[in-house]
Subunit: 213 residues, 2 copies
Amino acid sequence: MPAQERAIRTRQNIMLAAATVFNERGYKAATIADILTTAGVTKGALYFHFPSKDDLAQEVLATQNRNLTIPERPSKTQELIDVVMLHTHRLQTDPMVRAAVRLTMDQLSTEFDRTGPFRQWADLTRQRLEQARDQGELLPHVNPTETADVLVGAYAGIQSMSHALTDYTDLTTRANALLRHLLPTITLPSILTSLDLNENRGAHVYTEIHTTT
Amino acid sequence: MPAQERAIRTRQNIMLAAATVFNERGYKAATIADILTTAGVTKGALYFHFPSKDDLAQEVLATQNRNLTIPERPSKTQELIDVVMLHTHRLQTDPMVRAAVRLTMDQLSTEFDRTGPFRQWADLTRQRLEQARDQGELLPHVNPTETADVLVGAYAGIQSMSHALTDYTDLTTRANALLRHLLPTITLPSILTSLDLNENRGAHVYTEIHTTT
């Protein structure tokens, strides 16, 4: 295996180990020693890639905002739905995304900055809402910044409740219910009728992305 | 001070100390020794009131669902708003309620049951929605169980985002925005126009309760 490829694998190994340890113990209780044991790498290898525990946590946090490029749709509201449902699918299936979201939602972790994901999600959502508004998809009173904050905050709670009650088994149903409750106050009725709010939309978009790339 | 009164004070002391420690360290990292030091009581006194750390955590959790009796209103939708805005006010001002909510939202605490508050909030909300429906305040398609779950989940996330970004400074604004985004898909337009969604509603209800009792 070429050296560069080996380095990439080691890095991925460490990240997955960090995600597992953060998931199990939380940021505060997790130690570099735990992560080393789980990853099965040397201290030198770990510090080469990540100078500190905080760097590791920030890397894990960042994964939830990656690979969010979804195929372009004629309706920007549909793109918004696709992002939500794809994220729902990833939360149910990808341990890295789970760990990232748990770190973000850990109100007890005051030692590291968990504002990043909230801000990034709100920003991406606001941009899509602005595009939707410019295309004439939104009700006239909608303020994209405010609505983005409501959407991101509400989703964060829906997933937390689903995690607590059913370990994400019912997340698709809850995400769908949230969208059905919010979209009618955001989108024009004529747009609403053409939206695909199907519960398997997330899995569908996931397959679409991984088939086309 | 009579013995009974002293016992009540000791208990309150321990609860407040436990809330402080859980708030700072999380459930897992908190120790009985920390709580003893913070409360300044003997081990015997603590174990007399709370047999275990889990008992303490459950007691702290339960505080968020107490004192939620708000004055009766002609509109049950208004009562729902009042509960949300009163809780918002308490989150901003009461350290016990803050600690309870943080424990509930701690996705890393897999050792103790944090489903209780979600279920209780959802239950109380569903009951009020059913009353609202029976009084003819709701749109015909509304399913009180589903809508209660959306409201409770969404609020949980809104408060978490506000906590992360502004330490609850903007919670009133965010709670208000959430209600304005959700109520039009739940309530009849004729009811909407008579609702008080003012941002100081929470403080107002709080004063109302503490003046009348």
